[in-house]
Amino acid sequence: MAEDALLSGIRKSFNIGAPAEVEILHGIDITLEHGAFCALIGPSGSGKSTLLNIIGLLDRQSAGRLVIGGKDTQGLDDAALTRLRGETIGFVFQAHNLIPAFTAAENVMMPMLLSRGWADAAMRAAAEALLDRVGMTRWRDARVGNLSGGQAQRVSIARALMMKPVLVLADEPTGNLDTAAADGVFDMMHTMNQEQGMTFLIVTHDPRLAKRCGRIIELVDGQVVQGAA
């Protein structure tokens, strides 16, 4: 089976003021098959965000091998990593994901705007289709500051899908939503996974939501204790 992400022996140390180095991730091996819908759980401070940032090419591992979308990231420079990230990975973060100076539709278009060369009409059509799909057509031209937390996360999901990524990384996307809104956002991601087949890796604290995922990876103190395979 094709995998979207392959991690082997990933370690991450942070340099907390000269000689002291603290290792946060102690050799992580994970394989994410194409189309998987995975939860990443674990106590606060166990290294979930750090791991997600490494997989999303926002941060670099201190050691270990990382293959994203079939491409080994070893030796890629910042520009190449940025390009690979733009083409293959979508992100949804916890609240305040969107750029307030832009409308909902403009936020969704942002990845295409950044990558250039897209016709205006194509961008608008793609953004509108996605906003429609997440039920946000009415708020297309809204300032994002006027959206509720759940609405903003739906827009964020639409934006994450804009470049048709193979992998969507979501770091506590329902973290500060009430249960109903959280369910709605989670359902939306699940539907997208079912319909469009991209892989999801979702960090969550909510065991109820984690249980609805096809696979649960548990991280404790920088080590995978469950669900690595």
Binding site: D59, F93, I99, A101, L114
Partner: protein, 408 residues
């Protein structure tokens, strides 16, 4: 969405609009700085140009005079000085030797526009009981008035200079209680006074000149000064006023007479101009520096405030260079918009100043001219200063580690 711009331009403008309070404050700062610079520079160039024009139309560019008479030390033998205390002799009214030949030489010198023969000297004007000591300038108007534009300064009458006519200044007219059409008795070095008719009264803009200077025909001047056949000076206008000193030195070397250029006789004017221009450059540079630091500090704060947004943009595929441009452009746009507003304010101030501040005689102190080169240069310079000021904050933004930025 403004789609005629690439992402960086849109983001720069949107960020500036979103932080409109900061944007307005810094724009006010930039535009006041630019306004002061535009205002100051325009007044300076205007006043200088006005003064220059006055100088160049009210005196010859080069005056050829007979060489100074000097006393030489008395020598007993080689190296032995008998009496070294020298007293400068009185300078007599003398004609230039061989002036016709010199005049021909001058006329054929490249760069010379007009040469006029002048017979000038002191005289006495009498009208009834009133007398005044005057200076008469005898010259052929068709040459001389192309150098000194007396006709431009006429305030009463129509000038005409036959051998029995005289043009006098406003203050002399008041002093003697005369007006156009009246006659004056003028006595020069020749003992016989001549009755001359006042055909016009001029105002040269200076009380001294208006009181003393008079113009008569060349031959009238010669006969009044007992200089028949001679000239006291040859006066020259050149095509390029700023080449006057070079031409003067050349003429002096070739003819052996003294040649004074207006540049030499107005040396303190040039020193003053230089001092003014230097101080203007210092002020403008200080303004540019404070504009740069103002823009930079606003952008530094903005980069810090937008750290998380920058991280998110990076996560969505924004390259470092794109982030850099977003902030660099904000600097450039702030500089440019500030310069546009500042130029408008400066132009307005200049207009008010031009209307309110006048010379003592009520004429304008400086012409109201906005040099397009000055405005264009200011816009370009301010934009570049803004871009440069945006450099440090933009690099700070581009260097942000996206993982750290998103974590907040």
């Amino acid at each position: 969405m403004i789609r005629w711009l690439p992402f960086e331009g849109i983001a720069a403008l949107r960020f500036m609009r979103e932080g409109w309070i900061q944007t307005i404050f810094i724009l006010v700062g930039v535009s006041l700085g630019v306004a002061v610079t535009v205002f100051e520079t325009s007044i300076l160039t205007g006043v200088q140009a006005n003064f220059l024009k006055r100088v160049l139309t009210s005196q010859a560019h080069i005056v050829l005079l007979p060489p100074d008479e000097v006393a030489r030390p008395l020598h007993d033998g080689p190296g032995i000085v008998e009496d070294a205390t020298l007293q400068r002799p009185n300078q007599r009214l003398r004609s230039i030797d061989q002036w016709q030949t010199i005049r021909a030489t001058v006329a054929s010198t490249p760069g010379v526009r007009v040469v006029a023969s002048v017979a000038s000297g002191a005289a006495m004007a009498v009208r009834g009981d009133a007398t005044a000591s005057i200076s008469i300038i005898g010259a052929e108007p068709e040459d001389y008035f192309r150098i000194v534009r007396v006709p431009d300064y006429i305030v009463a009458g129509t000038w005409r200079l036959t051998s029995d006519d005289i043009l006098i200044g406003t203050d002399l007219a008041t002093l003697l209680g005369v007006t156009v059409g009246d006659r004056l008795f003028v006595t020069g070095r020749s003992p016989t006074p001549r009755a001359l008719t006042i055909t016009a009264i001029f105002d040269l803009g200076s009380k001294g000149a208006n009181l003393r200077t008079t113009f008569v025909a060349f031959r009238t001047g010669q006969s009044l000064l007992n200089l028949v056949g001679g000239v006291t000076s040859l006066e020259i206008a050149v095509a390029d006023a700023f080449a006057a000193e070079t031409i003067a030195q050349d003429l002096s070397a070739r003819t052996g007479v003294r040649a004074d250029s207006w540049i030499k006789t107005n040396a303190q004017f040039f020193t003053a101009v230089q001092a003014q221009n230097t101080s203007n450059i210092v002020i403008s540079s200080a303004v540019a520096l404070s504009v740069a630091f103002g823009v930079a500090s606003v952008l530094v704060v903005s980069v810090v405030q937008r750290g998380r947004e920058i991280g998110i943009l990076r996560a969505m595929g924004a390259r470092r260079g794109q982030v850099l441009l977003v902030f660099l452009l904000q600097g450039g746009v702030l500089g440019f918009l500030g310069a546009v507003l500042g130029s408008l304010i400066g132009a307005g101030l200049l207009l008010v100043w031009h209307d309110q501040v006048r010379q003592t005689d009520g004429t304008e102190l400086f012409p109201y001219v906005l040099d397009p080169l000055l405005i264009g240069g200011t816009l370009a310079f301010a934009s570049v200063v803004g871009l440069l000021a945006g450099m440090a904050p933009a690099m700070q933004a581009a260097r942000l580690d996206p993982a750290v930025a998103i974590r907040g």
